[in-house]
Symmetry: C2
Subunit: 210 residues, 2 copies
Amino acid sequence: MNRRVKMSGVTDPGLRARKKARTRAELQRHALRLFRDRGFAATTADDIAAAADVSRSTFFRYFPTKEDVVLLDDVDPLYDAAFRAQPAGTPLLRALARSMRTAFASLDDEKRALEEVRMDLARTVPEIGAVLRERNTFGVDAVAALVGEAVGRPADDDDVVVFAGVVSGARLAAQALVRRDPDRAYIETFADVLEVLADGVPLADAPIVT
Amino acid sequence: MNRRVKMSGVTDPGLRARKKARTRAELQRHALRLFRDRGFAATTADDIAAAADVSRSTFFRYFPTKEDVVLLDDVDPLYDAAFRAQPAGTPLLRALARSMRTAFASLDDEKRALEEVRMDLARTVPEIGAVLRERNTFGVDAVAALVGEAVGRPADDDDVVVFAGVVSGARLAAQALVRRDPDRAYIETFADVLEVLADGVPLADAPIVT
DNA sequence: TCTTACTTGAGACTCAGTCTCAGTTCGGCG
DNA sequence: CGCCGAACTGAGACTGAGTCTCAAGTAAGA
């Protein structure tokens, strides 16, 4: 029993793969806990490995850098999917705002808590923020790809890239706002900013006063 | 002769300070050269120190990290100054685009070359890009401060922060565009993007197709 | 059950970054 | 001019990230 079912359409993982997934998840779980409690810099790769009961070598086999451990994520694909599920005709910025809200709302409590720790670290620890910004669903390239597809233009079309830059900028703004007022919820703030932008860039035409 | 003139309004540096400035500049000069020729990762702090004929310790005394050496910059203050010099009444985005162009044009050839290497590294080497984005004149916080002052609003005003995010996003877009087509000049591209945005966010109202 | 391929732990190695200490050099003052 | 204190430098030890190699263990498949 518990044999790998090779014939069925969905290839069932098998013991080896299941073990790997479990180890990876364990490493992340302990890492995030330690980062939260002791701080990122004060947590060594050894600490994490020890907590997850594997060797340091193994830690780096699963995650190329200490930052990468924060990247592991079940949520980003959900944003993507939610966006693709938006009905045709929806204006882009609204569609993005909405898909963020629905994707985040669809998370169960455990995942949401995990996600909040991740976003907190992203705002707090510069190295992590940088990595996340580059490899996230909301990096310029990723948004450009997503949006280009949605409007039927190439991902390197100037307008598409500029639009993607604005969306990434909206995220930067949201992070800055939450940093200034930690009571704000990040996802909500991000979605709000996108909706503000749907009515035009604030201050775009504001003149300089002396 | 060559005595430090303490009485005159401008405090003349003195030997010590001059030496420091020279060492710092030398370190940067060699570092950028080595980064360009060998690559960032393949250049060790020892290499740079040796090239500039100082000890490794001294290198880290001048620059807290290897990335920081790329940050040293005479140009950013020029952008600031050029922006502040824009006539009252100029709309913000135009003012930013213009001040970038004039500041960059005011550089002599040597400085401009240096600046181009820096921007190239910023686009090419992720670590450097990240540091530059955070500590640059065009980071969200810096833009918010500059713009808040210009429109007479606090730097943590929501509109100001969102606007600053858009400007930072414009930079991200410009970097992405140059990455796709290295023949573009970065500064020009950045200014162009800002001017595009002055006419509204492209695709903002574009609907999703299918 | 036996072979093969993947996975792991141990440990050596390089390099970034921090810190301490001792020696040197500059600046200022008598 | 000569001396003292402060700033600067180089040497070297130390921690921790990240890479690599090798030997031992374990799942997969026949």
